[in-house]
Amino acid sequence: MSDDNVEDVEAFRQRAREWIRANLRRADGPGQTLRGKDEQQDLAEVAREREVQRMLFDAGFAGICVPKDYAGQGLTPAHQRAFNDELVGYEYPARLQVPPMTPCMAVLLEFGTEEQKQRHVPAILKGEEIWMQLLSEPSGGSDVAGALTSAVREGDEWLLNGSKIWTSGAWWADWGLVLARTNWDVPKHRGLSVFILPLNAPGVTVHRIEMLNGNREFCQEFLSDVRVPDSDRIGDVDDGWTVGVRWLFHERMQHNSPYVTRPTGATREGEKGSILKVVRDAGRIDDPVARELAGEALEIGLVTEALNHRVARGIMTGTMSDQAAAVGRLLMCVSLSRQSTIAFEIAGAAGGAWADDDGEAAERGTDFLMRQTPSIGGGTTEMARNVIAERVLGMPREQALDRNVPFREVPRGSARQ
């Protein structure tokens, strides 16, 4: 790919705009909440998103930064950003972005064999394969490298047993990336391997977890003697943590990833509608106190967005280390949490009890209950702070009692299963 062949960003933007307006539906109004949609509706939405992904693919807008060798467009992050700008206000295949495009596809692109990439990446870009990450475990908390799910070799196959949790949409997704323990007699980071796995494989049971807001997208999977061919291993045996480190990096990068197609600002205000609508629907548009709170929500939204631009640019140009992604992630989590709290406060009594016609003031209490979700999922803010202090600022690492100890001897506490 030579520079000469790359389409000018503005020309690309123009082309994207025209295509989007001609082909995509306007986004549903704001105020969609996560609660209680029925299963059929969920599945219909997934089907539509696969369809939209296929439309993007056919129009040459899928995998904008994926190399042409794997059916991508071979363009630059600037092109992806331009596309995302133009996408504001339109439908998009939300469920197919994070985790499918990043970290899953990103890991595949980085560590997959040529055959694995040829087999899966085009299918992902066409919406034919939706990938999820089987990473966390019920006992694990922040310590993803402490995985207890085991993989035991039997000839050309591996036998997987254990349980993974917090897999979004596993009940309608197709493939999973799995981190498993292949060696218990070495320190924890040195006994892991990564596999890929069709979620409908025999021995995989998917249980939907009910979140406190009624959402049932997250799943727990029980793996019981699940057989995976060695050709579906990613990276070397027992060297899974090399993959894992980048996997986590791609996860932290999600909001800056060049692989993600998502309307600009969607993670900030877009999906929930403007905070000022909450002020208006709460009947407080002339209340200076409510206005100031709304101003704070706008303030931290804009600042977080600017920081994410800076970090993405810094990492891309090499002026920042990859670990700096944690800086953006930390502020984003804190900001999202504060924005939920602000909307809840603005809603007043409707934050506690609301009527169906309360508009954007409704459901703010439910959002508030779920406030910590971004600060937990995809690596906790505590881990982000550790990464910043230790990896970005170079401060001494926390004492870990599981370093240089065979994994089976590591203390686990009574809460550990």
């Binding site: 009910e210 009890a353 169906d356 600060s375």
Partner: protein
């Protein structure tokens, strides 16, 4: 909760604690979200037998308290309600019982509240208005009172057989007890984050009741309404602190048990410092609640400021505390199966109702200004 309960108070607390532990364990709470009323009528009657609704009613009307300060005694129950995230219209019934007893009105309803056979509730908040900012009209029409307007949210609106309505009559406030089935009364269910409490919007369209339905003097209810509001704040604060306490205890225990990187969570200094902050907020919540209830029960005029300070502080810091408990539980903390959200819900609803933290801070400024002006006048005099 009070640092030192008398033995009578402690016995009372233990009785309620045991009853709630036995009757409404967490599995029952989860199930109750699908029940229309959110609680069982028999459960409520048996609770009333324990004295849950009699502490603010004078002996003359069949009630009685423990320590001489019935409000303080009742905060013990409220604290246990919060600590168990217990169901039942505790605040609603007690406010009405106190109002009726104080004004010597509707003795039959008092009797029903005392034995738990009757549920009543207070209609005070109005949509889009601050607490105590009353727009509902109660017009005198000959021997009748005619009510128009909307109240929401109203706790247990669909469960209550009697509604204590606060409205405006010319320049003054009036309170009236309205049977729920009166013509022109419409109750619409609202949604809420509480699993077991139900709220509704109550609209009054030319609702006509005899003048004898008034609770206290027509147009003279202002001080009475303040007292009721203060009572609600005292109970809501005690409840929320109870919820904070349970969430905190649960999370400390989790922190000792849970290992990460071969070490218990509570060995990490960053988490230890957060536990320390939480501990300071929790003890502060207890402190302001108890001091306010003590002074309210003895009629001290600092009570208003202490109650609003408590409502604001417990609303904000209680929320931060329980959310930090959620955070420390990781993904489990946001699942329906885990228990921590039961207490988060209770604190969250309590924070939003009867004035948000922001609204109580504004009220504190008003009260502080009145205090300063009174002090200035005193010095001048």
């Amino acid at each position: 909760m009070l640092l030192q309960l008398s033995s009578d108070q402690e016995f009372f607390r233990e009785t309620t604690d045991k009853f709630l532990t036995d009757q409404v364990p967490v599995e029952v709470l989860r199930r109750l979200r699908d029940e229309a009323a959110g609680y069982d009528a028999d459960y409520w009657r048996r609770g009333a037998e324990l004295g849950w609704t009699s502490l603010l009613v004078t002996e003359k009307h069949g009630g009685g308290n423990i320590s001489g300060n019935g409000i303080l005694d009742l905060t013990i129950v409220a604290h246990e309600f919060g600590a168990h995230a217990a169901p039942g219209p505790l605040i609603a019934t007690n406010v009405v019982a106190a109002a009726l007893a104080e004004t010597d009105s509707h003795p039959d309803v008092i009797a029903g509240l005392l034995d738990g056979s009757t549920v009543a509730t207070w209609c005070i908040d109005e949509p889009g208005r601050r607490p105590l900012d009353v727009d509902v009209e109660i017009r005198v029409d000959g021997d009748d009172l005619v009510i128009n307007g909307v109240k929401r949210p109203v706790e247990a609106a669909e469960q209550a057989s009697h509604l204590l309505v606060t409205g405006r009559t010319d320049d003054g406030l009036t309170q009236v007890l309205v049977p729920a089935e009166t013509a022109g009364v419409t109750v619409t269910a609202m949604r809420s984050v509480d699993l077991t409490r139900r709220f509704g919007a109550v609209s009054f369209s030319d609702v006509r009741v005899p003048r004898a339905a008034a609770v206290g003097e027509v147009g003279q209810a202002s001080a009475q309404v303040q007292r009721q509001f203060h009572l609600v704040l005292a109970l809501v604060n005690a409840e929320s602190v109870g919820a904070m306490q349970t969430a905190f205890d649960m999370t400390v225990e989790w922190g000792f048990d849970r290992y990460s990187f071969g070490r218990p969570l509570v060995s990490y200094q960053a988490l230890k410092h957060r536990f320390a902050d939480m501990k300071s907020w929790l003890e502060a919540g207890h402190a302001i609640t108890d001091e306010a209830a003590e002074e309210l029960g003895t009629g001290d005029d600092r009570a208003a400021m202490l109650l609003s300070a408590g409502k604001a502080f417990i609303g904000d810091y209680g929320g931060e505390l329980i959310q930090d408990c959620v955070q420390l539980h990781g993904g489990l903390g946001v699942t329906f199966e885990h228990d921590v959200h039961l207490y988060l819900r209770r604190q969250t609803v309590n924070r939003a109702l009867y004035g948000t933290p922001s609204q109580h801070r504004q009220r504190l400024a008003d009260l502080g200004q009145q205090r300063d002006e009174a002090a200035a006048n005193k010095v001048d005099a």
